[in-house]
């Protein structure tokens, strides 16, 4: 069994007096998915933001390696390496879907082809301004944005939120292909019903 590439141990995070994460630990290896569950406010999104490098934990360690034997990367590198789908992600309302992807592809130093291919599978018109997208369409753009640079680590916060049935089916296929290709995924979702067959679980419920 391959060694985990993402390990986090005893991660703690407070917002003022409110302790949101109280020593959370977990590990994910290649081709594996960790499902983080719990009710609203249990810290799922906070944990994902810590893993993505968007929030610094107050205590605990987070280690991520792109390949076995590589040294663990820092939070700045994790931010750029991981692919993130989150309700917090927004795009430039004045730019079209294609222009948004082209802009972020230049920042990611990669061609926009992969993101465009993902959008083609999810079904989203490229010339529509991002400000005129419905919530389901915005979620499609988040998926294309997350997969733009072919990341090995996917951090998905409520990944199927607002999707219609064809959109959810296509997104599930993309996730399955990512895992089959040896990628890692951490998925935060309030319910376990949508992920009945997932082995790795972390319940933040209190």
């Amino acid at each position: 069994m391959p060694a985990p590439r993402l390990r986090f141990a005893n991660v703690r995070r407070r917002f003022g007096r409110l302790a949101v994460l109280n020593g959370v630990s977990g590990a994910v290896g290649p081709g594996e998915m960790l499902l983080v569950t719990g009710p609203n406010g249990s810290g799922k999104s906070t944990l994902l933001r810590c893993l993505a490098g968007l929030l610094a934990p107050d205590a605990g360690t987070i280690e991520y390696r792109e390949d076995e034997g590589d040294p663990a990367v820092d939070a700045a590198s994790r931010r750029k390496l991981a692919g993130t789908v989150s309700p917090d992600l927004a795009f430039y309302a004045e730019l079209s879907v294609a222009e948004n992807l082209a802009f972020f592809a230049r920042l990611r130093r990669t061609p926009p082809d992969r993101g465009l291919a993902v959008l083609d599978r999810l079904g989203l018109p490229l010339d529509r301004p991002a400000g005129a997208l419905s919530s389901g369409m915005r979620q499609r753009l988040r998926w294309a944005w997350a997969l733009l640079h072919a990341p090995r680590l996917l951090l998905l916060d409520e990944p199927f939120q607002n999707f219609d049935a064809p959109g959810e089916r296509a997104a599930r296929e993309l996730l399955a292909e990512h895992l089959a290709a040896g990628g890692l995924a951490v998925v935060a979702n309030p319910s376990t019903l949508e992920f009945a067959d997932v082995a790795g679980r972390l319940d933040l419920g209190r």
């Binding site: 490098g53 750029k80 130093r109």
Partner: protein, 228 residues
Amino acid sequence: MWRDASTWAAEALAVFAKEWRCEFRTRYALNTLGLFAFTTLVVVSVSLGPVGVSTSRGTAVLPVLLWVILLFSAAAGLPRAFVQEEETQTATALRLAATPSALFCGKLLYGLTLTFALEILVTPVFVAMTSLDVKSPGLLAAVLAAGGFGLAAGSTLVAAIIAQARSKGTLFSVMAFPVLLPLLLIAVELSRGAVAGDPAGVALLQLLLYDASVTVAGFMLFPVVWNP
């Protein structure tokens, strides 16, 4: 190393191009700056009357008014650079995708071009409306270039620092005051000299040193204030 530098520059240029593309579609900063500059120019010209002011008083007062117009016009548009990213929640995607120093450079380039465009539009109109006789136009152009650079660099740095705060408007004024005050004092004194035909002396060097200091401070501070 060169490859890294060219991809870094490509990132910075992508941010710069994105800023102008969004600006041309919304015209938020352009309209705000243009309207403020036009209003203050009209107020100044009407207040001074059709005969203008005497040469001696004009040399003392008019450069101050020019920099007041430039400062407040720029302050109406430049702080939006990072505040808008936070308000529209695009900052998260930028944090995850962009190299902080390249992002700062792209935003700074946008602020510079916006400030220079403002100066190019406002200064000739101001000089014509107040019948200002500039003895050293070359020096005035150099002061405007160096002062505009400092104004854009200082405003971009302060905008980055305040972007995640709650009372952004108030905080910008409070933080911009100590950062921009030395720049304005030197720029006004040099502009007076340019109008009177005095040599620049060491003040122009001080202005350039200010520009360099604020720019270096911006590149060093930005990754710290931008990321957790």
